[in-house]
């Protein structure tokens, strides 16, 4: 796996516990360069600041939800290339389809395992490598 361990992640979730869990899992996978945001609006601000290479986001959040964040990222020229992995409790099929259509790079339903996260990240890295 050729992913850069210095790759800078932004973890977006309104629950600090979840952010901490994702941060810890990323650390175990070798990614220690992780920043956090507690909703889509804050995430967007941080992303506009530049320097991020990967976004992991929840769906249901106050101020700006994850789908809107994803759509905004895809509609913003300097951000649209960013891989966006959704980790969410939303498990309706129409959610998954909406996320895919909006350009999500991956979709993980909560509760999830460390193995699932690793697998999805690798899949996204592979696609990035090809692109």
């Amino acid at each position: 796996m050729a992913a850069d361990p210095k790759m800078r992640f932004l973890v977006v979730d309104d629950f600090s516990t979840m952010r901490r869990i994702v941060r810890n899992l990323l650390k175990e996978l070798g990614f220690t360069n992780v920043d956090e945001a507690e909703d889509g609006a804050i995430a967007l601000q941080k992303l506009q600041g530049g320097g991020f290479e990967f976004v992991v986001t929840d769906w249901n959040m106050p101020n700006m939800d994850g789908l809107t964040l994803l759509q905004t990222i895809r509609a913003t020229p300097n951000l649209k290339h960013l891989p966006v992995l959704m980790i969410t409790a939303e498990a309706k099929k129409e959610n998954i389809i909406a996320a895919a259509q909006a350009g999500a790079s991956g979709y993980i339903v909560k509760p999830f395992t460390a193995g699932t996260l690793s697998e999805k990240l690798n899949k996204i890295f592979e696609k990035m490598g090809q692109g």
Partner: protein
């Protein structure tokens, strides 16, 4: 009866609404007719109920008369018709509540709601605390385990040199001493500290007992409320007005997926769905 005080105010309110506006559409008359069993109740509520019934049925007749006698009713602004209809529905609801005895059920449930809010806040609080305790414990224990791993690996590599005859006697003496100290001091110290964190993680689960009890109480409250409201709604809402569930993309976790085809239950199904769509 505490309800009778309210009902005077409400009656006045509804009477004023009914006097101001006649409904643009005929009332669902069925809802104002009391159940037959209540027609001749052998208790103290008799007079009150009778009076209520008289006023309601009189009103319904007036309303119907207005509709038939005033075809211009359709020309009214839609909002007025809605408010008017709401007023009548609320009136019918209030009466039906009293007649069916739902008011007592609902009164009890509504009184319990602030308490339920406190209880839910308590659950959120306890679970958050537990999550923090567990994450703190893993934060403390992980480096300890890492140190044990790297320490034993380093010693092991030096012992490999011993077995490969690549170590002098002085160095060997030092290795033996360090290994002894690692086994007798560092290792037990770190495993004890790790064990303490495991215990901490275990103890952090004590919330389950407390939240379980609280949640059970709230579930039964919700069931009471649901039963009361559902019964009432079925009484007063015409079949055609019963709308389907609101479509939304923010529903939170699926609590019960049994019999549902619109949700996925695991990651495999997510992947299959995305694959099938070519994503």
């Amino acid at each position: 009866m505490s309800a009778s005080n309210d009902s005077n105010d409400l009656e006045a309110l509804f009477d004023s609404i009914a006097a101001d506006y006649a409904p643009a559409v005929p009332e669902p008359v069925a809802v104002v007719a009391p159940p037959p069993a209540k027609a001749a109740p052998a208790n103290g509520d008799d007079d009150e109920l009778q009076a209520l019934f008289d006023s309601v049925s009189a009103e319904a007749q007036v309303a119907q008369a207005d509709v038939s006698g005033d075809p211009a009713g359709e020309a009214w602004p839609k909002q007025e018709a809605v408010f008017n209809r709401l007023g009548h529905m609320a009136r019918a609801l209030h009466d039906t509540l009293g007649q069916l005895g739902y008011d007592k059920v609902l009164e009890k449930s509504v009184a319990a709601l602030p308490d339920a809010k406190d209880r839910l806040a308590y659950v959120a609080n306890l679970t958050e605390q537990a999550a923090c305790r567990v994450l703190n414990a893993t934060d403390i224990a992980s480096p300890l385990v890492d140190q044990i791993e790297s320490g034993s690996r380093a010693l092991g590599e030096r012992w490999d040199k011993v077995f490969a005859n690549q170590m002098g006697p002085d160095e060997f003496k030092q290795l033996a001493a360090e290994t002894r100290s690692f086994l007798k001091e560092q290792l037990p110290q770190k495993t004890e500290a790790t064990h303490a964190q495991l215990t901490e993680i275990m103890m952090a689960q004590d919330f389950q007992d407390l939240t379980g009890q609280v949640i059970k109480k709230i579930v039964s409250l919700a069931q009471e409320l649901e039963t009361g409201l559902m019964g009432l709604l079925i009484e007063v809402v015409p079949e055609t007005k019963r709308t389907h569930e609101v479509d939304s993309l923010m529903n939170g976790p699926v609590v019960n997926a049994e019999g549902r085809t619109d949700v996925v239950v695991n990651q495999e199904q997510v992947d299959d769905l995305l694959d099938s769509l070519g994503f």
